[in-house]
């Protein structure tokens, strides 16, 4: 009797678990963190948004690839608070299926934004809301959005939050911004040649490259990399939609540093 009861409970549990996994409202769990609990006016701070993605589903990077939509964040900020730079993304995964390639995340992902505060505005506390929209897909796709808010106290003392270490660790692993002056690209009839002529000092070997600018390269084409000393040439097949080549391309470059550790940088290169 005990065994039967146990079996029924197990089946019911499995059934409910399955149901909850397919409950489309629970496919993404949104949370928001700051690296500070209290800050002084005039200082900078970070906000991290965590999207916990249900097993087997994925959401998209800023360039979604062959299908899908980029995940977007719209901020509601009090007067006196401004964004510094763009959203910091983690390195995406290539999600391949039926000959198509998407760039996205099949697991929890953090999006981080830096902010600055103005000394001119008198703030008692800072309330920030992130309105996040995403498309989540497995076989089917569902457009969703949600809001997450956070309050940061303003005071005499700067006080780190309990999430400060986590945010600093994520920032340390996130792609660095590198200002390339000499690197450039040339679009041929079918191929795009990217010449990385200046790179961060610690680059030992370029291992992968993502073109962030959408509609430029065939997403399922092989990334062919030729590493030379202090430079690299990357060849990719052009997308059939790349009719008008822009003057600048945004890239995410993955590399191994001189100790063999994986690192990455983001850069913008021109066609000159």
């Amino acid at each position: 009797m005990k065994n039967i009861a146990l079996t029924i409970i197990t089946i019911m549990f499995a059934f409910c678990h399955n149901l909850s996994a397919e409950n489309t409202d629970e496919l993404v769990d949104l949370s928001i963190y700051s690296n500070v609990k209290q800050l002084q006016i005039g200082s900078d701070f970070y906000i991290a948004i965590k999207l916990s993605v249900a097993d087997e589903w994925h959401i998209y990077w800023k360039n979604p690839g062959d299908s899908g939509l980029p995940t977007e964040v719209k901020w509601t900020l009090p007067k006196g608070v401004e964004k510094v730079g763009g959203l910091k993304w983690q390195i995406p995964e290539r999600i391949e299926w039926s000959g198509m390639v998407n760039y996205g995340f099949e697991h929890d992902v953090y999006l981080i934004q830096k902010f600055k505060t103005s000394r001119v505005v008198d703030l008692q506390s800072i309330d920030i809301t992130a309105d996040v929209s995403w498309l989540i897909c497995k076989e089917k796709c569902i457009p969703q959005n949600d809001k997450a808010s956070i309050k940061i106290e303003v005071g005499e003392m700067f006080e780190k939050s309990s999430e400060n270490k986590m945010i600093q660790d994520l920032l340390a692993k996130a792609p660095k911004t590198f200002k390339a002056v000499k690197s450039n690209f040339k679009a041929g009839k079918e191929k795009l040649e990217i010449r990385l002529l200046d790179m961060p000092n610690d680059v030992a070997e370029v291992t992968d490259l993502f073109v962030v600018t959408d509609e430029i390269v065939e997403n399922n084409s092989k990334v062919e990399i030729k590493n030379n000393s202090n430079s690299a040439v990357v060849e990719l097949k052009l997308s059939p939609y790349a009719s008008d080549m822009p003057a600048e391309l945004e890239l995410l470059v993955l590399y191994k540093d001189k100790n063999g550790s994986p690192k990455s940088y983001e850069t913008i290169i021109s066609n000159k």
Partner: protein, 216 residues
């Protein structure tokens, strides 16, 4: 004798090379059907519609043809059907003699692959106005036209040349309220071409749900 053998060998090699060349040519002719490209001849195909009637693209020579990749359960397709944007285009242009072929490349058992009854109901509810709804379960025609998402659009002129490939409009979203603000590439391309003007935007990256092709 030795010399003769050499000659024979030479002939054999020639024969083998010839056979190989023929095999290579034949296989190339079968498999290397070029994918659709703007400005090139539209690859021909034959597909059955939902009622089992065959449609051959080349039979529509002399007319403008729109190919629309569709999956009624995809939110991007729903955006254009629930707002009636797609049906309005279908009505407007089929009245002007355009052949509008909705193509479903969802494999059997995958999202978007409906039974005849399900299709009839969905099309009745949406009041769709296409010329025919074609079934491409193998995905061959979808791949021939490099269709990756739904909706994905192709326009073919009366000379059977591809004049447009890509998105329905310029705002990639699943939000119906964006339709009014968007530039409808399909409408613009058809109007320009039918008025003898140059098609300004000949291709664009389509946006939507990935097509549920058969796993191969």
């Amino acid at each position: 004798m030795k010399q003769l053998l050499v000659i024979n060998k030479g002939l054999d090699m020639k024969k083998i090379s010839l056979v190989l060349a023929i095999i290579l040519f034949a296989t190339t002719a079968i498999f290397a059907k070029d994918a659709a490209k703007v400005g090139s001849k539209a690859p021909d195909f034959v597909l059955k519609d939902k009622d089992g009637v065959e449609h051959k693209l080349s039979d529509y020579a002399g007319k403008y043809v729109v190919l629309e990749w569709v999956n009624y359960d995809c939110p991007f397709v729903k955006k254009h059907y629930e707002s009636e944007n797609m049906q309005k285009l279908q009505r407007e242009f089929t009245k002007k003699g355009v052949i509008w072929l909705s193509v479903c490349s969802s494999a059997e058992g995958k999202q978007g692959n409906f039974t005849k009854d399900e299709l009839d109901k969905k099309q009745k509810d949406f009041k769709t106005a296409e010329t025919a709804y074609l079934i491409d379960e193998s995905g061959e025609v979808g791949k021939l036209y490099n269709a990756k998402v739904t909706p994905d659009m192709a326009i073919i002129n009366p000379n059977q040349e591809v004049i447009y490939l890509g998105a329905i409009d310029n705002i990639p979203s699943a939000d119906k309220s964006d339709i009014e603000k968007a530039d409808n590439y399909v409408m613009k391309a058809l109007n320009s071409a039918m008025n003898g003007e140059t098609v300004e935007v000949k291709s664009s990256k389509p946006y939507g749900c990935g097509i549920k092709y058969a796993n191969k």
